[in-house]
Amino acid sequence: MYEWMVSRLKKKILAISTSILILDQILKFLVTSVLHYKETVFIIPNFFYLDYIKNQGGAFSIFKNHPLLLLIVGMISIVFLGYYIDKKKNFHLIEIIYLSLIMGGILGNLIDRLLYNGVIDYLGFIFGNYYFPIFNFADISIVSGVILLFIDSIRRDKNGVRSM
C-alpha cells in the first residue's frame, strides 16, 4: 500500500482514540461536578445507577494496593500499542476500530491515574442482589476493543491468514 494511505489510516486511529479520550474525560468531568464523592443516584430503579467513586485498583479492583504498578502497566501498553501501530504496514477497518477503542480507553483511565491517583468510575449495575463492579466509559471502550480483537483474530485463523 502507498505510504501516504497508511499514514492517513494511522491519523484516523489517532483521531478516533483522541475523540474517545475527550468523550471519556467530559463524562468524568460531568459526573464529578454533578455528584458528590460516593453519591449514588438511581437512573433505572433496581438496575442501573450512577455512583461517583475513585478506583485505585485495575479492573475489578485488582492490584488495589499497587497504584504505581498499574500506572506503569498502562504506560507500557500505550508505548507498545503506539510502536505496533507505527510499525504496521497495513490496516483493516476492524483493526482501526479496535486499536482506537483500546488506545482511547487506556489513555482515558491513565490520565485519571496521573491526575487523581485513581480512576474515576461511575456506572453501576445490579443483577438481582449482585452488584457488578462500578466502571466507566473508558472501560467499555477497552472491553469492546478487546472483544473485536478476539473476533478478528478468530476469523483470521479460520481463513488461515495470520495477522501482521
Binding site: 460516593k38 449514588t40 438511581f42 430503579p45 442482589n129
Partner: protein, 298 residues
C-alpha cells in the same frame, strides 16, 4: 476488623476497650503502632470518638469477635433482596456488645439472612432502638444498601413514628422539644439534656389520648434527630417521663417490660427500587393490654 462508632465524645481507647473486651493498655499499644485508624487517619489514644467514625483495626487480634448465628424467632415485616424491616420485641438487644454476645437481634438475623458487613460486630445495623423499646427497625442486607440507608438516616429521609405512654397529663395537643442531648457526666449509662459535649435533638409529639384516672397520656412522637434514648430523655426533661422506664422514669419500681415506647410506623423511599415503603405494626401485647385496662377503668 472494621467497625463504625455508635457513640459520641468518648476517648477511643476507652470506647474500644469496653466494646471489644480487651484492655485499654493493649488498645493504646496498637494506637502507638499506628494499627488503629479512624476514617483512614492515625489518631492518638485521647481522640474522642464521633458517631459514624469508621474505625479500622489492622491486627490479627485474638479477640476477633465472632457473632454466633442463633435460631431465635423474629418478626419479619418486610423483606426484599436489599433490606429487611423487623418488628423487634421489647427486651431484645439489637446488636452484640460487651457482656452480651448472645440472644441479640443480630444473632437471630444471621441465622436467617446474609447481612451487610461494613461492621463486623453489628452487621446489617443502620440504626438502633433501645433494648426495651419495641417496634420497627430497618436492616441492610448488603454493603451498598447499608451505605445508602445510613445516608438516608443522616439526611432524615426515613420517617419513624413512635407511640409512647407517659406519666402525667400533657395539657397541650402538640409540642416540639428542642434540647441538646449528651452523655450524663455522672453516669456513663445515661444520657441527659446538657450543653456540654451534646448534639442538638428535636422531638415532635402529638397527644393521642389522656387517661386522667391513672394520670397518663398516650402520645405519638416523630423524631427529627436520632440521639441515643432521645424520646425517653426528652419526655423526662419536660416532666412527662415514659411510663415504666427503668432509667428515666418517675417510679422506682418497674416491670421487666421496660418503657412503654414502640416504634410503630416507618416510611421511606427504598434506596434501590425507589418504591415507597410504608409499614405499620400494632402495639406489643403488654402495651395493648395495659391500655385496654386503663381504658376500662376510666
Amino acid at each position: 476488623m472494621e467497625l463504625e462508632a455508635c457513640e459520641d465524645n468518648i476517648r477511643i481507647d476507652q470506647y474500644l476497650a469496653s466494646n471489644l473486651k480487651i484492655s485499654r493498655s493493649k488498645i493504646q499499644k496498637l494506637i502507638k503502632q499506628n494499627k488503629i485508624l479512624v476514617n483512614g487517619k492515625n489518631i492518638n489514644s485521647s481522640y474522642l470518638v464521633k458517631e459514624k467514625d469508621s474505625i479500622l483495626i489492622d491486627d490479627d487480634l485474638d479477640f476477633e469477635v465472632s457473632v454466633d448465628k442463633e435460631n431465635i424467632p423474629i418478626d419479619v415485616v418486610y423483606e426484599d433482596d436489599y433490606l429487611l424491616i423487623i418488628n423487634k420485641k421489647s427486651g431484645m438487644v439489637v446488636h452484640p456488645a460487651p457482656g452480651n454476645y448472645h440472644g441479640t437481634l443480630v444473632n437471630a438475623l444471621l441465622y436467617r439472612f446474609s447481612l451487610s458487613n461494613l461492621d463486623t460486630v453489628r452487621p446489617g445495623i443502620v440504626h438502633r432502638i433501645d433494648k426495651d423499646t419495641s417496634g420497627l427497625l430497618v436492616v441492610a442486607k448488603d454493603d451498598k444498601t447499608h451505605e445508602l440507608l445510613s445516608d438516608m438516616i443522616k439526611e432524615k429521609k426515613i420517617e419513624r413514628i413512635y407511640y409512647a405512654l407517659v406519666d402525667g397529663i400533657i395539657p397541650h395537643e402538640t409540642g416540639t422539644i428542642d434540647a441538646p442531648i449528651g452523655r450524663d457526666p455522672n453516669n456513663r449509662e445515661k444520657m441527659k439534656v446538657t450543653d456540654i459535649n451534646s448534639k442538638n435533638a428535636i422531638t415532635h409529639f402529638k397527644v393521642l389520648k389522656r387517661f386522667p384516672n391513672v394520670n397518663q397520656t398516650l402520645i405519638e412522637c416523630k423524631l427529627e434527630t436520632g440521639r441515643t434514648h432521645q424520646i425517653r430523655v426528652h419526655m423526662a426533661y419536660i416532666g412527662y417521663p415514659i411510663y415504666n422506664d427503668p432509667v428515666y422514669g418517675k417510679r422506682k419500681e418497674t416491670t421487666e417490660f421496660g418503657q412503654f415506647l414502640h416504634s410503630k410506623k416507618i416510611t421511606f423511599i427504598h434506596p434501590i427500587t425507589l418504591e415507597r415503603i410504608e409499614k405499620e405494626v400494632g402495639l406489643p401485647k403488654e402495651f395493648q393490654d395495659y391500655l385496654e385496662k386503663i381504658n376500662i377503668q376510666e
